[in-house]
Amino acid sequence: MLLALTLVLLLSARALASDSRLTGEAFDMPGDGGGSIGLRWQGGFEETAEVHYQITLSDREQGAFHLVATIPANTHYEKDRAAPWWVIGTPQPQMHFFQVSTVADSPLLDETRYFVKIRALIGDEQFESPVFSAVPQPNWFQWAKLNNFLFMLMFGAGVLLSIRSARMKPTLFLRRIPGVDAVEEAIGRAAETGRPILYLTGSGELTGRGDASNMATIAATVLLGEVAKRAAGSGTAIKVPHRSPIVMAIAQDMLKNAYRTAGRPDAYADESNFFIAADQFAYTAAVDGIMLRERPAANFFVGYYYAESLLLAETGAATGAVQIAGTDAEHQLPFFIATCDYTLIGEELYAASAYLSRDPALVGTLRGQDLGKGFLLIGLVAGTGLLTLGDMTGGTVWETAVQIFHDFR
C-alpha cells in the first residue's frame, strides 16, 4: 500500500512543476528535544474544507517523498499554535503550520537533513511547492518556558534578599496562625495527662522523583524537629510511625537532635520512631490501632496524604485527642478541617517551622513568599481587568495585552 502510494506520489511529482503561490519554509523546531521540524506556508488558494494540502517528506532532495499528512486548507493555522508569542512572533493570518516528527512510522533523526514538499489538491488539480529543507536538532533551552524561568529567578532572588534583610533586621511581623499556636497547647495537654503525642509525617516519599508529596514531607520533618524539642522539654513521649523508610531515617536524626537540643538526650528512644508498612491501608490500620490502644493526647497529621486522611483523623477524633493537621494536598483538606481541631492549610504548613523557631532566615522566606504572592495578585487583577474591558468594549485594542497575560500563565 505504502509502495503504491509512494509510486503515485513519485509519478505525480514528476508531472508537477512548483507553483509560485505555495511559499513557505521548513525549520528546526525551536526549544525542543530534537527529532522534529516545523513547516510554515501560505497557499494563496481558497481556504475551505474542499481544498487540501498534502505534506510529503524525504531524506533526499531527489528521493522518494513519503506522504506525512493530508489536511484541509482551512485548518492548521500558525495563530492556533499553543506557543507563546516570544516563540512564534506575530503570526500572519493565513499562514499555515505543521509539525513533523515521524515519517513512515519512524521518528525523524537528529542532524539529518529532511526535504519537504507541500501539494495543494483542488478538485482534480494539483499544485506543488518548491522543496524546503531543515535539519532537526536538539536544543539546550525550552524557550516556551522562558517566562517560568524568569519568574523563578526573580522569585528566588526575592526570597534570598528577604532572608538577608530579615537577618539584618530580625523583627519582622508574623501573622498568627491558630494551628501553630495550638502546638504548645497540644503538647501541654499531653504533658498534663501523661499520654504520648502521635506525629505522622504523611504518605509522601522522598525519592527525588519529583512527585508533589516531596516538599510537604520535608516540611513535615522540619516541623517534627520543633514539636519534638517542645515535647522533650516537657518530658512528653512522642511516637512517629512511618510509611517511608527514607523519611524514617531522616526523622530519626531530627528526633535525636531535638532531644539533645532540649537537654534530654537520655530520654530519646529509638523505638519511638519506627517504620510500619509502605502499603497505604496496612499503615492506616496500624496507626488507627495505636490511636485506639494507646490513646495519644495529641495527634499531628503533617505532610502529604491520600485517601487514608479521613480514616486516620476520624479515628483520632473518636479518641478525643487534640488534633492538628497540616497538608498541601488540597483534596484532603476538607477531611482534616472536618475532623481536626486545627488545620494548617497549604502554605501555612511551610510557614509553621518559621513561626515556631522564629529563625530570621526562615521568617525572611515568608516575606519573600509574600512578595511573590503580591506579584501574582497584581497580575491576576490586571489580567481580569483587561479581559473585562476587552469584553465590554469589544475592541481589538486589548487583544495584544490579553494575549501577553495569557502566555504568562
Binding site: 528566588g156 525519592t207 520533618t221 531515617a249 483523623a313 529563625d359 532566615a361 513568599q369
Partner: protein, 213 residues
Amino acid sequence: MRFWQQTLPLLITFVFGLALVLQYYVPHPASEHFLQEISLWSQIIAGFAIVLGVGSLLSTHYQKITRQEAGWGYSAVLFVSLLTVFGAGLWAEGKAEGTFFGWLYDYVLVALQGTMFSLLAFFVASAAYRAFRARTPEATILLSAAVLVMAGRVPLGESLLPGVGTLADWIMTVPNTAAQRGILIGVSLGAIATSIKIIFGIERAYLGGGDGA
C-alpha cells in the same frame, strides 16, 4: 567529621538540586537521560532503605514481644504473617500466578485493603455529621453549600428544585475552584521557597545536625 556530616551532604544537595531545577528547562536528550539516571538511583536507594524499614519494624515488634507489652499478641501475628508471606514468596520463586503466594495476595491482602477502603463511606458520614452541625455562620454556609451540591448531583434534586444542578455546577466551578487555585498558588510559592532554602543550605534541619539555619 563535619565535612562528612554537613559539608558533603550540603554540596550534594546544592549540585543535584540546581541540576534538577535546570533540567526542567532543558529539552535536550542528555537532560532526559540525566533525569532517568537520577530516577534509577532513587529507586536503588529506596530499595536499600526498605532494609532499614523492615529492620525497624522487626526490632519494634520483637521488643514488644520480649517485654510482653500491651497488645504483644498483635506483634506475634505480624511475625507469623511476615514469615508466612516471605516463605510463600520464596517457595513460589516470586511468581504470583497459580501459587499460594498469589492466593495470599488476591484473597487476603486485596480483601483487607478493600475492607479498609470501604470503611471510608462510614467515616465520611460521621465526619460530615460533625462538620455540618450549623453552630457557626461558617458551618451554616458549609452545610448549605454541601446540601445544594449534593442535591444538584442527583436526578431527584433537580426534579424537586429545578435549576439546582446549574447552581451546584456554579458552586463547584467558581467559588470552589477559586479557593483551590488560591491554595495552589500559596502551596507552589511555599514549595519553591522551601526548595531554595534547601538548595542553598539555609534550611538544613533535615541533616539532623541541629544547625537550623
